[in-house]
C-alpha cells in the first residue's frame, strides 16, 4: 500500500516549513558571530534533516505527540511554535518557550504536542513509548513520533523500548535520523550493522518489528514511508522503525569551551577530522531545501517568483524572531526555584 502524495498546496506547505527551519537555524548560527555570548552551552542544528522532519510531521493530528533530542529546533517550528518564543528560549530570555530555563537543547511546547526532549542520548525513546501507552488506552487513534539519531541506537534504552513497543503494539513510530555520525564517529566505526554494510533499520528484526530505510532528504519519500508507518500505528498494528538517511550540514554542535572563549561552529567533522571534503560537498550539492525548491519549480507547483517571495517572508519572520529575542528581558533571578516541583 502506498499513500496519496500530498497535494500542491500541501507540498508548498512542506517546502515552506523546510525553509522556515533552515532560515531559523541560519539565524541561530549567525547569532554566534552577530551577537557573541547571547547563546550559551551547546547548540545542535537540524540543517540537512529538514525534509525528514517536515515529511514526518506532515501527518500530525490533534492529540498526536512528538518527542525528540537536544537537536530539537525543527519539530516545534513545524508544529506551530512561535519562532519568537523559540529564539528567545535559545537566548535564555523570560519570553522563551520554556521561560529561559531549558535553552536550545530542551525546547518544549506541550500545547502543540511537542512534549520535550532529553539531552541524554537514547533517554527520550522510552518517554515516547510511555506517551504512546497513554494514547493506546485513550483509543482516539492518536500516534506518537519518537525522533532520535543513529548513535542513539547503540544505547540500551533503544532496544529495550523497541521490544516493549512491539510486544504491546504501541501506536508509535520510531524515526531514526541517520546522519552517519555520532559527533566525530562514523556509523561504521561504532555500529556492527553499518560495519557489515547493512542498514540500521535491520535492528527492528530483533524485535519482530517492521524496519524501513528511506531517503530522508526527499520530503515526499519520507511523507510516504512515515505516513504508512503512522497509519499502521493508528490502526493498532503496532510500531515501525524508520531509518531516515540524512546528512548533517553543520558540525555536531558549536565548540565546547568554558566561558571566556567565544563559541562558534567549526567545520563539519568529515572535513575537520577525516579530511573527506568531497563527502561533505556531495552532501551540500544534495541539500534538501534548494533541491525540493527545484523540484517544485520544475514541476510547476511553485513559480520562482512565489518561491522568492516565500523566502523573503520567512527571512523577515526570522529576523523578527531575533529582534524579539534580543529585546526580551532575562528571567527574574527570584524565579529560579520555581518549577522544580509541581
Amino acid at each position: 500500500m502506498s499513500l496519496q502524495p500530498p497535494d500542491a498546496e500541501r507540498q508548498i506547505w512542506i517546502f515552506t516549513q523546510m525553509l522556515r527551519i533552515r532560515t531559523f537555524e541560519e539565524r541561530v548560527k549567525r547569532a554566534f558571530t552577530d551577537h557573541p555570548g547571547v547563546i550559551r552551552g551547546h547548540t545542535h542544528l537540524a540543517d540537512g534533516a529538514e525534509a525528514s522532519i517536515v515529511g514526518s510531521l506532515s501527518h500530525f493530528r490533534e492529540g498526536d505527540a512528538a518527542l525528540a533530542t537536544y537537536r530539537c529546533h525543527g519539530y516545534p517550528m513545524v508544529l506551530g511554535s512561535d519562532p519568537k518564543a523559540m529564539m528567545a528560549e535559545i537566548f535564555g530570555r523570560a519570553t522563551g518557550l520554556c521561560k529561559g530555563l531549558g535553552g536550545s537543547m530542551h525546547l518544549t511546547d506541550v500545547k502543540r504536542g511537542f512534549l520535550g526532549t532529553s539531552g541524554i542520548v537514547g533517554a527520550g525513546i522510552p518517554h515516547a513509548a510511555g506517551v504512546a501507552w497513554a494514547k493506546q488506552i485513550a483509543r482516539k487513534g492518536n500516534v506518537v513520533l519518537a525522533f532520535f539519531g543513529d548513535g542513539a541506537s547503540k544505547q540500551g534504552a533503544f532496544h529495550e523500548t523497541l521490544n516493549i513497543a512491539s510486544l504491546w503494539k504501541l501506536p508509535l513510530v520510531f524515526v531514526m535520523e541517520n546522519n552517519g555520525y555520532n559527533v566525530v564517529t562514523t556509523s561504521a566505526q561504532e555500529d556492527a550493522s553499518a560495519a557489515a554494510g547493512e542498514p540500521l533499520s535491520v535492528k527492528a528484526k530483533a524485535h519482530a518489528m517492521p524496519g524501513v530505510t528511506v531517503d530522508g532528504t526527499d520530503p515526499l519519500a519520507v511523507y510516504n514511508v512515515v505516513g504508512e508507518a503512522i497509519e499502521r500505528a493508528r490502526s493498532g498494528k503496532g510500531p515501525t522503525l524508520v531509518e531516515s538517511k540524512v546528512y548533517r550540514l553543520s558540525a555536531h554542535g558549536n565548540i565546547i569551551a568554558p566561558p571566556g572563549v567565544p563559541l562558534h561552529y567549526p567545520e563539519h567533522e568529515a572535513i575537520a577530522v577525516f579530511g573527506k571534503r568531497e563527502e561533505y560537498e556531495a552532501a551540500l550539492r544534495g541539500d534538501p531545501v534548494p533541491r525540493f525548491r527545484g523540484t517544485l519549480v520544475q514541476n510547476g507547483t511553485l513559480t520562482p517568483v512565489k518561491a522568492d517571495e516565500l523566502a523573503r517572508q520567512v527571512a523577515t519572520e526570522m529576523e523578527q524572531a531575533v529582534g524579539f529575542a534580543l529585546q526580551s528581558p532575562f528571567p527574574r533571578v527570584e524565579s529560579v526555584l520555581d518549577y522544580n516541583y509541581a
Binding site: 505527540a65 518527542l67 522563551g96 518557550l97 520554556c98 521561560k99 529561559g100 530555563l101 531549558g102 530542551h106 518544549t108 511546547d109 506541550v110 512534549l115 520535550g116 532529553s118 541524554i120 533517554a123 527520550g124 525513546i125 522510552p126 518517554h127 515516547a128 513509548a129 510511555g130 506517551v131 504512546a132 501507552w133 497513554a134 494514547k135 488506552i137 540500551g156 534504552a157 529495550e160 523500548t161 521490544n163 516493549i164 510486544l167 504491546w168 520555581d338 518549577y339 522544580n340 516541583y341 509541581a342
Partner: protein
C-alpha cells in the same frame, strides 16, 4: 482499623488510589502474568502490565505516561535495580518540569524495596536512600510501619512529582494497625515514635524498631530517648527534629547505610548549621560498617546497627 502486614499495606495504598483514579497505572516485572492477578482482575491490562527486565524502558515509559497525564506506579522490587536506569530517576523524571518552564508535571511512583540484609550478599542489600535524596524535583519516602506504608503510598500516587517509594524488606511481614478506607499520610511530617527529653534519636525504616528497642532498654536506666522517624527524607521535616534538639541538646542518628553515604550525614549537617547553640555534645552516628554486605550470617549481623550498638551510642552521646 485492620491488622495487616507491612507489605499488604503497601498494596492497600495502591488499590485505594487505583480505585478512585483511573489514570493510575501499575506495572513492572513479574506481576500481572495471569488474569487472576489481583490488580489485573480489578483494573485490567490497560492499567496493569507485566514488563520485561528493562528498567530503563520501564521508568522511561513511566516518565512518558506521566507527561501524557497518567499516574504510573512502577514495581521495581529492589532499589538496586534502579541503578541500571539511574538517569531516568535522577536526571529525567525530575528534570522535565523545570526544563520546560513548568509546562509539564511528572507524577510517578517508583516502588522499590531496600536493605534486605538477610543473606542476599553484596548486590541486593544496599540502603541507597541518600542516592535519591537531595535531587531537585524528586521526593523520597521511607515508611517504617504498615499504616505509613499505606498512607505514604497513597500520598505518593497523588503527588504531582516523581516519588521514590522505598519499602524496607526486613519489615515486609511486620504486622500493624492500618486505617480502613481512605488513608493518607502527609509528606514532610516526621513522627515522634517515642517522646523523651534526654536525647534525640533519628532513624528510618528498619532502624526505627531497633532504635525504639534500644530506647526501651535505656528507659530502665532512666534515660529518656526521643525517637523520631522522618518518614519522608525529601521533603525532610527538619522542624520536628530541631524542636527535639532544642529540648534535648543531644543527638544520635541511626542509619543502615554506610558512613559516607547516609541520610544521617545530611541531618547531622543541618543540625550542626542550624542548632549549634542548642547542642550539648557531639552528634553521634550509628551506621553500617563501611563495607559491601557480606553473605555469611555472623558477618552480616556484625555490619548492621543493632539494639546494642544503638544503646551504646546513646549512652556515649549523654556523656
Amino acid at each position: 482499623m485492620a491488622q495487616m502486614p507491612y507489605i499488604a499495606a503497601v498494596d492497600a495504598g495502591i488499590h485505594q488510589e487505583m480505585q478512585r483514579d483511573t489514570t493510575v497505572l501499575y506495572f513492572g516485572q513479574n506481576l500481572a502474568t495471569t488474569e487472576n492477578h489481583a490488580f489485573v482482575a480489578a483494573y485490567g491490562h490497560d492499567r496493569v502490565r507485566v514488563t520485561p527486565i528493562s528498567e530503563t524502558a520501564e521508568i522511561g515509559i513511566a516518565v512518558g505516561a506521566a507527561l501524557a497525564g497518567l499516574r504510573p506506579v512502577v514495581e521495581l522490587y529492589m532499589a538496586e535495580f534502579m541503578l541500571v536506569a539511574m538517569d531516568q530517576v535522577v536526571n529525567e523524571a525530575n528534570r522535565f518540569r523545570y526544563m520546560s518552564g513548568g509546562q509539564v508535571k511528572v507524577p510517578l511512583v517508583l516502588k522499590a524495596g531496600y536493605g534486605f540484609t538477610a543473606g542476599w550478599a553484596g548486590q541486593h542489600t544496599g540502603t541507597l536512600t541518600s542516592l535519591f535524596m537531595g535531587v531537585p524535583g524528586l521526593k523520597v519516602v521511607v515508611p517504617s510501619t504498615p499504616a505509613d506504608a499505606k498512607g505514604l503510598m497513597a500520598t505518593a500516587i497523588r503527588d504531582d512529582n516523581p516519588v521514590v517509594y522505598l519499602h524496607h524488606y526486613m519489615l515486609t511481614l511486620e504486622q500493624g494497625e492500618v486505617p480502613d478506607g481512605e488513608h493518607l499520610v502527609p509528606f514532610g511530617k516526621a513522627e515522634v515514635r517515642r517522646a523523651g527529653g534526654d536525647v534525640t534519636v533519628v532513624a528510618t525504616g528498619w532502624m526505627v524498631p531497633r532504635a525504639l528497642a534500644a530506647a526501651e532498654q535505656l528507659a530502665k536506666e532512666g534515660i529518656k530517648a526521643e525517637v523520631i522517624d522522618p518518614r519522608t527524607v525529601a521533603p525532610l521535616d527538619l522542624d520536628t527534629i530541631m524542636k527535639s534538639v532544642d529540648k534535648t541538646g543531644r543527638v544520635v542518628l541511626v542509619d543502615q547505610a554506610t558512613p559516607h553515604a547516609s541520610v544521617a550525614n545530611i541531618i547531622a549537617a543541618e543540625i550542626a548549621q542550624q542548632r549549634f547553640r542548642a547542642l550539648k555534645g557531639p552528634i553521634v552516628q550509628v551506621t553500617a560498617a563501611d563495607t559491601t554486605i557480606p553473605y555469611s550470617e555472623p558477618l552480616e549481623a556484625y555490619v548492621i546497627p543493632d539494639e546494642r550498638r544503638i544503646a551504646t551510642a546513646i549512652r556515649a552521646a549523654l556523656k
